[in-house]
């Protein structure tokens, strides 16, 4: 399989503080990779390096063969091909749901208004929220907003999806409606890189699990290996804490 996302020896510093150290991993086409680890371990920073929301000082990141860190790369174009879902949804509060779904399609991909609306509504229907099309983000629940955010990313026809703790800001009862959408996506063969603490989701859906600690990738293995017998002590500790409940 060819790697859709390839990170090689990625290192990043905030001033003199090193947040990522020699991170190397890849996500193959159609693969679902879950990134987990304690807070402050660099998971979110790592995933943001994939679409250059965070610059990095060393190493290379290739997305579909294109180098993200290369100054000659057309970043807006590359980013438009990679969908991203954020912890705090980040829908645009001044735009209606339909406009949220359509704006990047129109302004970035140059689609007509009609086409953008049609596509947006198709994906809104997919996440079960077609009835909310005319509302504004502030009128939806957290779980609904996150589903709209996923639909918004999907309407750009991404080659891969990045999820940065998509359920961490949600009430417990809303987590599942978002995970269900993500599970559906995974089953359809979407290439996904997900930073999440939802180990149930990882167990059900992930092909591989990456465990990070203090800016290092300490485990990078299949989910069977990871949940069977994680090799490192740190990962064992983490799992024992998180799986108790």
């Amino acid at each position: 399989m060819t790697a859709m996302i390839q990170l090689s020896n990625v290192s990043k510093w905030y001033g003199s503080f090193q947040v990522l150290t020699d991170c190397t991993t890849q996500v193959a086409k159609g693969e679902v990779v879950v990134v987990c680890g304690p807070s402050g371990s660099g998971k979110s920073t790592l995933i943001k390096c994939v679409n250059a929301l965070e610059p990095f000082q060393k190493g290379t990141v290739l997305v579909d063969g294109i180098s993200v860190g290369d100054p000659k790369t057309d970043l807006p174009k590359l980013r438009s091909r990679v969908g991203m879902v954020f912890q705090h949804f980040e829908l645009f509060p001044h735009l209606s749901i339909t406009e949220n779904l359509a704006i990047a399609q129109m302004k970035v991909l140059g689609r007509s208004r009609d086409e953008a609306h049609e596509r947006g509504l198709k994906y809104l229907d997919r996440v079960g929220l077609k009835a909310q099309a005319a509302k504004f983000p502030g009128q939806l629940s957290g779980g609904q907003q996150q589903r709209v955010a996923i639909a918004r990313a999907l309407s750009m026809d991404p080659i891969a999806m990045l999820f940065d703790e998509p359920t961490s800001a949600l009430d417990p009862e809303m987590i599942n409606e978002v995970l269900d959408v993500m599970t559906g996506l995974a089953h359809e063969g979407m290439t996904m890189m997900c930073v999440t603490h939802e180990m149930g989701f990882a167990r059900r859906v992930a092909d591989r699990v990456i465990f990070m600690d203090q800016g290092h990738i300490v485990e990078d293995c299949t989910k069977e290996e990871f949940f069977g017998a994680p090799r490192g002590e740190r990962a064992q500790q983490f799992l024992s804490k998180i799986l108790q409940h």
Partner: protein
């Protein structure tokens, strides 16, 4: 107090042509509005541009905008007006200087000076409001926009500014009213706006108290109306579920 009140004074002849004193107040109000509105347009356009510049990653651009704000905010408005009216014209090229000082009517050259002065002064204040509005937005908003492939100008145009301008309507209302109130400095360089007409009425008619009561009333009603207008604008652009949407 031994003062002879006469509220009929506004309808008395000024002794100049067929004008009554009320005509002077109307002319003055006209100048005040003409100064304030044009100065506000300058302030709004330039201030927004500077406010955006202050939030850009480019050090030279944000540095320039910071310098501008420091300069125009730390020198008194009246000093700035005198600089624009008495000193700056002397630095103009010869032909422009003659035009400004001799060809233009005195009221026109005073008008230009005060509009430029007030526009640039208020731009510094508008800049700070716009900057604050942009900085109040969560970083995630621009991240989300970039992640979808927006370019920097698109992020500002479609995501940051529409939200920032909504947030800053209340402080911008204050700035808008300030332009009208500050326009009274024009009376000191001989532009016959509302305050100058009031002083003139007071001197000609000796009805000082009536004249200033009238001026106070006109300024008050004018600014109250503008406040109402801005409240209406705020309601018009409010978005359901967003801060400042009056709970709609």
């Amino acid at each position: 107090m031994n003062y002879h009140w006469d509220w009929g004074v506004f309808f008395k002849s000024t002794g100049i042509g067929h004008e009554i004193y009320l005509d002077w107040f109307i002319t003055g109000l006209g100048w005040t509005i003409a100064v304030a509105l044009v100065a506000w347009v300058i302030a709004l356009i330039l201030g927004s541009l500077l406010g955006v510049m202050r939030t850009l990653p480019n050090k030279a651009l944000s540095g320039f905008a910071s310098g501008y704000v420091a300069l125009f905010r730390n020198v008194p408005l009246l000093v700035q007006l005198f600089l624009w009216y008495f000193l700056v014209p002397d630095f103009l090229p010869e032909s422009l200087q003659t035009w400004f000082k001799q060809d233009l009517k005195p009221s026109t050259s005073a008008y230009i000076s005060v509009v430029v002065c007030l526009g640039l002064f208020t731009a510094a204040r508008v800049c700070e409001q716009v900057r604050t509005g942009i900085e109040a937005l969560p970083k995630g908003q621009s991240n989300a926009a970039y992640a979808m492939g927006f370019t920097l100008p698109q992020v500002y145009r479609h995501v940051l500014l529409p939200q920032a301008f909504r947030i800053i309507i209340p402080p911008m209302t204050s700035e808008f009213l300030n332009v009208f109130k500050n326009s009274s400095v024009a009376s000191l360089i001989g532009l016959m706006e509302l305050l100058a007409q009031t002083k003139q009425t007071a001197e000609f008619s000796a009805n000082l108290f009536e004249a200033f009561t009238m001026a106070t009333l006109i300024y008050f009603v004018l600014n109250m109306s503008l406040m109402k207008l801005m409240g209406w604008v705020e309601n018009r652009v409010s978005v359901p579920g967003l801060i400042g949407s009056n709970g709609k």
